[in-house]
Amino acid sequence: MNTIQKNVLREDAPDKISGSSRYIQDIALENMIYAKTIRSSQAKAKIEKIELPEVPPGYSYIDFHDVPGVNGVSMINDRYPVFAEDSVNYIGEPIALIAGPDREVLRDFVSKVKITYSPQEPVFSLDKVSDDRIFNQYSFTKGDPAEAFTKAKSIIEYTYRTGYQEHMYLEPQGMIAEYTDNRITVYGSMQCPYYVKTALQHAFAWPEDRFRVVQTTTGGAFGGKEEFPSIIALHAAVAAYKTGKPVSLVYNRREDVEDTTKRHPSIITYKTGIDENNRIAAMDIHVTLDAGAYEGLSGVVLQRALFAAAGTYEITNLRISGKSVQTNTVPTGAFRGFGAPQAFFGIEMHMQHCAKALGEEPLDFKRKHLLTKGSSTATEGKIHHPVVMPEMIEGVKILSDYERKKKNCGKRVDGQIYGIGCSLFFHGCGFTGSGERDKIKAKVRLRRREDHQIEILIANVEMGQGPQTTLKKVVSQAAQVPLTRIVFNNPDTDKVPDSGPTVASRTAMVVGYLLQCAGEELFSRREEKGELIIEKQYVQPDFIVWDQDTFKGDAYPTYSWGVNVAEVGIDPVTMEISVDKIYGIYDIGKALDKDIVRGQMEGGIAQGVGWATIEVMEQQKGAIAQSSMTDYIIPTVQDLPEIILDFIDNPYEFGAYGAKGAGEIPLVGAPPAVASAVENALGFRIHKIPIKPEELLEAQQNDD
C-alpha cells in the first residue's frame, strides 16, 4: 500500500485560493444581528454595580440571567461560567453581551457601560502556592527513587521555564447562532462540534435533539479552537434564544489575543541522581502549569506533560509529580503539543545539562538512555512497538553533518556566533490514557449513496491539516473506489456520529483506522444494491493496559518519534538569534500524503521556532502585555530556517494504513533543538524560553 503516500491535489484548495471559501466572518444570515462582549477590566474583583446606558429599541443586553439552565461551560467540569455573576477572575472575563443590528451602536453602548468593582487581591505567582489555588495535582512513582538518590554519586538539579504561546490562527474566532423551530443551531470556526453541542446541552439544560452544531471552514486552530469555541457558541446561542434573531459573534484580533486560551506557561524542576557509571540512576521531576483563572482542560494538559517529562529515556527510578495552578489571568488551554512541548523543553535541556556537567557529549549521553521496544515507560507501561530512534539519530547526524559542524560551536561563521544542537522526542498518539475507550468511544459512518458517491460521516474537521484529503484517500484505498467519488463535508451534528474531537494527533490514526475498516467492509459488500451505511466504533486494542486512577500502564497505544538538529547564528552585537537550518527525521508510522505531511512538519517547526525565540507574551498584573498582532510576534517568511526533512516508515497496526500521529510532534522537537544550539554557541546554560536577546545580553554580561 505504498501508493497512498503519493500526494494528490487537495480538493479544498481552489476555493480557498480564489477567496470563495466562506469562513464564519463571511457569512450573513437573514435578519442577523451582531453581538459585542462586555468584559472585566479587573483581574480579581467583586462586581458591585453595573450601570448601563439605555438599551436602544431593537437591542438586547444579555447576561448570566439569560442562561436557561446552568451558568457553566462544560469542559472537564463546568466551573468556567458562561457569564460572570457577582465576581470576576481575570481581565477580559466576559460579563455580558450587547446585541443588535448596528455595530457602531454596540461599540458606543459598550464604551458607556459603567461597572463598579470592589477589587480583591489577585494572585499571579507560581511559587509558594496555597492549596486552594491548585486545580489538579498528580504524582506517580516508579522503582525506588529515594533509595537511588542516597546511592547516587552526584545529584544535578535545574529548573526550566516556558512562556505563553498564542495560537494566532489567521482566522479570528467566531460563531453564528440562531434559534428556529425550537432548536439552537450554531455555525462556526471550531475543532470539536460535539464539544460545542455538549456545552450547549449542559448550559441550556435541554435535550440533545434541540441542538445542531455545524462547523464552518476553519482558518487554522492549533488547539485554540478546541474548548474555547464552547464559550463563544454559548454566548451567541443565549443571545439568539433571547432575541429570536440570528446572532453573529466574531472576535476582533485584539480580543482574540487578549481573551481566548493560550499555552500553559510552565516551571519544571529536575533532580537527577547519577551513578558511578555516569548514567542516570534516578529522577525526580515536578511540573507546575499556570492554568489561568479557570481549570478548563488543565488537568489533561498536566497529565500529558507528566507522561512526557522523562522524555525518550528509560529511567528506572522515577518520581513525577505536578500541579496546575490558578492565577488571575486569562485561562490557558489546548495548544498543539498540549503539555508535551513544555515537558520536552525541560527534559531535553536537562539531559544536555547533565551531559555537560559530566563532561559527556550530549547526543551520546542521551543515546545511552533511550527507550526501545519492550522498555518500561515512565508510567510503567511498555513500549510495544519498534523504536527506530538509533537509526534516526544516525540519519540526522549524516543529514546535518553534525559531527563536523559541532566543532564550530562558539566560533564566528559568516559574522555570527555559530551553534548546533539536537533534540530527541516523542509524541503519545491519541487521547491520553483511557480517554479513547471510556470517554470518546469514537463512531464513524460511511454512507454509500444511491448515486454511488461515498460520504464520510465523522465529527472531525478540516482546519488546514488535510483530513479532507487524507481520509478520503484512506476510504478510496480501502473501498477501492476513485477519490472523486468520495465526499467529506464540514461536519454537521445532525448528520454525523461523534467520532471524537480533532485533537491529540488522533484523526489520521484512530478515526482514519475506523474509516479504513469501514471502507474495507464497503468493498466486501460492493455487490449489494442500494444505499449502504456502515458504522464502526472504536475498540481499544487489547495490548493496552491502563489505570486512570494510579496513572500506571500504557498512557498511549503508541508513539511517534522524532529527532531534530538545529543550526543557529547569534549576532555578536545585538544577540539576535537567527535559526538557519533545522533537520528533522520523523517516525509517524506512515505518511498518508507526502505534501500534507511536509506541510504539517514545516508549519509545526515554524511554531516551535517562534515559541522558542520571538513569540514573547508576558502578563503584568493580569494584563497581557503583547495583545495584538503588532506586539505578539509570529515568524514572517524571513524569520524561519531552511527545513530538511526525512521520514522512516514504522507502521502501527491500528492506524490508518500504518499512520500514527503527525500533527503535534513537529512543534515538540524544535524548541529544545534551537535552545541547545544557542547554548552551544554561547556557552552558558539556556533554561528558559522564549530566548530573548535581552536575556542573552544580560547572561553574557554576567559571564563577563
Binding site: R103, V573, M575, T630, Q638, E694, E698
Partner: protein, 280 residues
C-alpha cells in the same frame, strides 16, 4: 466624520485653516491610532483631509544642494528612485512591508513623531529640513526642531508639511541598522544610523543618530565635533569616552517589546560596531 479631498495645495491649506482637518496621506499610522471595531467607521474627532492626490506634495526633485522629497510620496516610490540617498532608502525598506510602503509616506512618518520611527535617525543625520506651508507663508524647520516630543511636532493646525529636504549625502561609510522584534514587518527595539567621510585616514565628517533610544531621535553634534579631524586609527583610544558620552544622553525605556538595559547596551554596541567598520 467629514472628509475633504482638495485638488491642489492652496485648497488644502484653505481647508486646513478653516477646519483644522487632520492631514491624511497614506493614513497607516492614523488608522491604527484611531482603530475601531470591524464594520464601524473611524472618527478622528476632526474632519479628515485626503492629500494623496495633491501634486505639490508628491514631487521628488534634485536641487542644487539637496534632494527635495514630497511629503506625500509613498515610500515604495521613494525606495525605487535613485535620487533618494541610499541610506534613507535602506531605512525605508525596513519600515513595515511592501503593502504598507505603498501607502506610507515620509511626511506621515515624521508627523507621527514616534520615537521608534525608522526614517528619523537617517533624516537627522542628513540634516533634513521640513518645509511647512500655510496660507500665511512658508517655514523651513530643521527636523530636530520640528519634532519636540513623542507624537508632537511644531506643526500648527493651519499648516501642512509639504516637502522634506535632505542633503545629498556622499560619505565614505554609511550604515543603518534596525534591531527589530523580527526580521520583517517589525517595530524597532533600537535603531542606529551612522555615516562618515574619511579621507586619507582622517575623519572629516561623522554623524550618528539613534532611534527608539530616547523620547526623540538622539543626535549630538557636540560629540560628533570631538571626533571630527581625528585619525580613524585613534578612534579606538577615544571609544570608551565616546560611549560614555552617548550613555549619558541615551534614555531608552522598557516596554512590551524590549528593556531599557538592552536598548541602552545594544545602542552602545552598535556604535562600537560602526567604529569597527570605519577602521576597516
Amino acid at each position: 466624520m467629514e472628509g475633504y479631498r482638495p485638488s491642489g495645495l492652496k485648497e488644502a491649506l484653505e481647508m486646513r485653516k478653516k477646519t483644522g482637518a487632520v492631514p491624511y496621506a497614506g493614513g497607516t499610522d492614523l488608522v491604527v491610532k484611531y482603530s475601531a471595531d470591524s464594520g464601524t467607521p473611524l472618527d478622528f474627532g476632526k474632519p479628515v483631509l485626503f492629500l494623496s492626490g495633491i501634486k505639490e506634495l508628491c514631487a521628488l526633485r534634485e536641487e542644487k544642494d539637496c534632494i527635495s522629497i514630497g511629503s506625500a510620496v509613498p515610500m515604495s516610490a521613494l525606495v525605487k528612485n535613485p535620487m533618494v540617498p541610499p541610506l534613507l532608502t535602506r531605512a525605508l525598506l525596513e519600515i513595515g512591508a511592501p503593502g504598507i510602503r505603498n501607502l506610507a509616506t515620509l511626511g506621515g512618518n515624521i508627523c507621527n513623531a514616534s520615537p521608534a520611527a525608522d526614517s528619523l535617525p537617517v533624516l537627522y543625520i542628513l540634516n533634513a529640513v521640513c518645509i511647512v506651508q500655510s496660507l500665511e507663508g512658508i517655514r523651513k524647520i530643521p527636523i530636530e526642531e520640528f519634532i519636540v516630543n513623542p507624537g508632537t511636532t511644531v506643526l500648527k493646525d493651519s499648516e501642512l508639511l509639504t516637502e522634506i529636504r535632505v542633503e545629498r549625502g556622499s560619505f565614505s561609510a554609511e550604515e543603518f541598522r534596525k534591531v527589530g522584534t523580527r526580521r520583517a514587518n517589525a517595530l524597532s527595539k533600537v535603531a542606529f544610523a551612522g555615516c562618515a567621510a574619511v579621507d586619507k585616514g582622517r575623519i572629516n565628517d561623522i554623524r550618528i543618530a539613534y532611534g527608539a533610544a530616547a523620547p526623540r531621535v538622539l543626535r549630538s553634534r557636540e560629540i560628533e565635533n570631538k571626533l571630527k579631524g581625528i585619525l580613524v586609527s585613534d578612534l579606538k583610544a577615544q571609544e570608551n569616552a565616546v560611549l560614555e558620552d552617548y550613555n549619558t544622553l541615551l534614555s531608552p525605556i522598557s516596554d512590551q517589546r524590549s528593556t531599557e538595559k538592552y536598548r541602552r547596551k545594544t545602542a552602545l554596541r552598535l556604535l562600537q560596531w560602526f567604529f569597527e567598520k570605519l577602521a576597516v
